[in-house]
Every structure is written in C-alpha cells, then in structure tokens.
C-alpha cells in the first residue's frame, strides 16, 4: 500500500491521508491519474498532455520527484507520497 498525504488546497480535494493499493508497477503519474478521477481533480493536478502541473509538488519518502525520475518515478509498497502546492510558511 502507498500512503498518500495531501496538504493545503490539495488536502481539501483529496483528504488529508489515504491509502492506495498498488496494482502492479506504478509510477507517480499513474498514482495521480488514478487519484484524480474519483475527486474530479484532473484539471487541478494534471496538464493537457497528462503530465503533472508545475505548481504541484510531489515528494516520495521526503524527496522531491525532480531529484528522482520526475512523473515517471516508480513507487514501491510502503512508500509515502506527499502532494502539496508551493510552500508559504513563516
């Protein structure tokens, strides 16, 4: 199972935390595509070509996917995926 945590605007769309069962080999963009459908959130997260929108930050186990394999980063059982908008603390 993959633990998905969503924050700020995205928490209000997906809920704070959800578990997603892996269905064979899954990438970050697969996960997001699957998540968006039931929440009608496709336009918020994904662009027209099915890629991830720029203002959507994704961490896998605390590492930004840009330092991994981007949208194609592969997920394994037990991974924690975080989805959040640009940060604004302080």
């Amino acid at each position: 199972m993959i633990k998905v945590k969503a924050f700020a605007r995205f928490r209000e769309v997906f809920g704070k935390e959800l578990g997603v069962e892996l269905d064979g080999k899954t990438t970050v963009v697969d996960l997001l595509t699957g998540l968006c459908a039931p929440h009608d959130a496709h336009d918020i997260i994904l662009d027209e070509s099915g890629g991830i929108k720029k203002y959507v930050n994704i961490l896998v186990n605390g590492r930004h996917i840009q330092s991994l394999s981007g949208a194609q980063t592969e997920l394994a059982d037990g991974d924690e995926v975080a989805i959040f908008p640009p940060v604004a603390g302080g």
Partner: protein
Amino acid sequence: MIKITEEDFKIDEMIWKAKHPDAGAVVTFLGIVRDDDIVGMEIEAYTKRAIQELGRIRDEALDRFDLTSLDVIHRIGTLAVSDNILLIVCGAPHRKDAFTACEYVIDELKERVPMWKKELSEDGCRWVEGAMKETR
C-alpha cells in the same frame, strides 16, 4: 531547538536559552499575524518533513555563520490577528552574523519548508500561495 507546535511560545525563555558566554548578540525574528483584512489564519504543516527541512536550514546557517545558537519554533493551527506565528533566535559572538543568519533562516524557511497558510476573513477564506520554487 527546532519545533513545530500548536502552543504559543515564551520569547523570554527562548532568548534565555540563547545566552552563552561567547554570545554578544542575539537577533530575534518574530512573525505575527498581520491584519490584512483578515480575522485570523490557519497554518498547516507537513510536520515530519518541515522539521527535517528546518534542521537542514539550521545546519546550513551554523555552517555559514559564526553562531553560538540557533532555534526555530513555528506554530500550526488557528491563529488570530497579532498572534505569534514563528520565532527565530540567533545567538552569535558578533551582531553581523546574528542578523545575517536570522535573515537567512526566514528567507529559506519561506521557500523550502512545507507549510501553508489559509487566511480567514469575514467573506470566507483563501489559501496563500507561495512562490513557485522547488522544495529540495
């Protein structure tokens, strides 16, 4: 100390901890809720990662500047106008390092630490969007 908490903090106590025989300067940054036609603010954090990133920022500052201490405390939850949001306390032998380190921490915090604010006003609420920088 790096801390994310719903509780308010005592500034005197935090500054007291920064007292060190080699410290000649303690620079403190206190962020408070400003009345931008709001009644308050909700602050949310990805706590585990926020603490990790704050720890990295602290280590960078300790590495770059000559400091005797560096502490950061950031509140989450619902806050009213004039409530404390965060406190950064930098102790240093000399004031230049204390000022520069304190500004470094708040600048980096605003860009890198996974926290978000929702402004609450009479008319409703809105998420404050950060600038579009990547978290590391």
